[in-house]
Symmetry: C2
Subunit: 236 residues, 2 copies
DNA sequence: AATATTTTTTGTCAAAACGACAAAAACACT
DNA sequence: AGTGTTTTTGTCGTTTTGACAAAAAATATT
């Protein structure tokens, strides 16, 4: 049984796309639906908008419900309103994407029911793969969530080139290397960049304007020349 | 008196921003609200989303209601959901912008109650002016419509450089001159472009890919060298 | 008819940005 | 010391951009 929605009114909800990048790959958090409709399907976390909260506030509540302490960077993605997108009734959903550094997410993962799904962004349509390497078909996703995910990936691909969303996916200590940042770009765009040209690009975008600054420190090493560390000046 | 909304539920509506360009200036259609709340204020046309229609369909219905036969190009702008944005109750609005060539709009103007307001896009915040040249303060606008308009102008400024929205504002006969198109860019961006460089820009974006083609005809003249006409190949 | 004026169109040219590569530097490991 | 790995820096020809200038095609003026 699923909660009953009245048939003669329109509901408004928020859906959230928790996104992270680990080792040059983009990941999305999905949970398996336990109730009808779409029981057993993978789904984005969602929540009805309360009477006394804006959609942004609902998104914050939902974040706290699903991943307490995530502190993700959130942005409105798009509003989906197809009449039959939810079998329970008439539900419009305002989708937000939430970017969270993997190192922070890692600590929260044990206490959530959501699972990481890799998004292969190389093709036109994003391809989802679960932790066992099994590919999810679009029909494995609840509601219109496949479409929402596609819209999100397209938006990220577009915005990563002229905004600072890439920095929002960097680890918390605010120190990072160029290669790390390059991995984030590659995960989102689905294509690898030339190292040299990527540096030049980042410097002109972020360093010249003081958004990031090169430190005099280098990273602890595994192999090869140690990487220079950069700091993201969050306020600027 | 205004229609009563139930206090314990969330409503969803659509607001529309009819936009056009005439003589290098951007214009927006607003009506004066007759009912409370915000009676007497200038407002965007809006409509509640019906049970059996998507937001896009509501937008189409609203278009037909306010400007029948407009055939505007519409795109979802953003969803606004502040709790107190509407004094009647809890109303979330999905805003769409609707681009319409001025020549087409001109014929429809006599039969609508909406009025044209010029938008000066040169400053950070858009400045609205009515037909008598009186400037509208933000407090002259109903609800959160000032914010919606600002969001819209920013979006247009961003998208005009890498999409074909400029063409959507061209007159219907599908024939236009470079100077006309340049006027649309200047109206939206609020800054004038170098004629020569603008041509080069348009050609590389639109002509090389076959979206527009130069004709062998020239425009009927007033003064000066006659302008070459271009055709917009809508399907491509 | 010749000249000026207006407007569109084309051209120029140096500076900046981009793409593809190659070289050098700084480490670990053997 | 030598090898391998990874980051960093440099080069260079091509393309793009920005700021101007000149030419072309029409009308208006004397």
């Amino acid at each position: 049984m699923h909660e009953l929605l009245e048939k003669d009114r329109v509901y408004a909800a928020v859906d959230l796309l928790f996104l992270t990048v680990r080792e040059r790959r983009l990941y999305l958090l999905l949970s398996r639906r336990e109730n009808e409709p779409c029981a057993g399907y993978a789904a984005l976390p969602g929540r009805m908008i309360g009477l006394s909260e804006s959609a942004e506030e609902t998104a914050a509540v939902l974040e706290n419900e699903m991943l307490p302490g995530a502190g993700a960077y959130m942005e409105q993605l798009y509003t989906f309103s197809d009449v039959h997108r939810d079998a329970r009734g008439r539900v419009i959903t305002i989708a937000y994407f939430a970017l969270i550094p993997y190192q922070r997410l890692e600590r929260l993962l044990p206490s959530t029911k959501m699972r990481l799904y890799e998004i292969d962004t190389r093709a036109e349509e994003p391809v989802l793969t679960d932790e066992e390497g099994k590919r999810l078909a679009k029909s494995d996703l609840a509601f219109d969530h496949a479409r929402i995910i596609q819209t999100c990936v397209n938006r990220l691909k577009g915005k990563i080139g002229y905004t600072d969303i890439s920095l929002r996916l960097l680890s918390d200590d605010k120190r990072f290397t160029m290669v790390e940042l390059e991995g984030i770009f590659e995960a989102v765009t689905g294509q690898e960049a030339d190292k040299s040209n990527f540096r030049r690009f980042i410097r002109s975008r972020f360093e010249d304007s003081g958004i990031i600054t090169a430190l005099r420190q280098t990273e602890k090493q595994t192999r090869g020349r140690p990487a220079l560390l950069y700091r993201w000046n969050r306020e600027a």
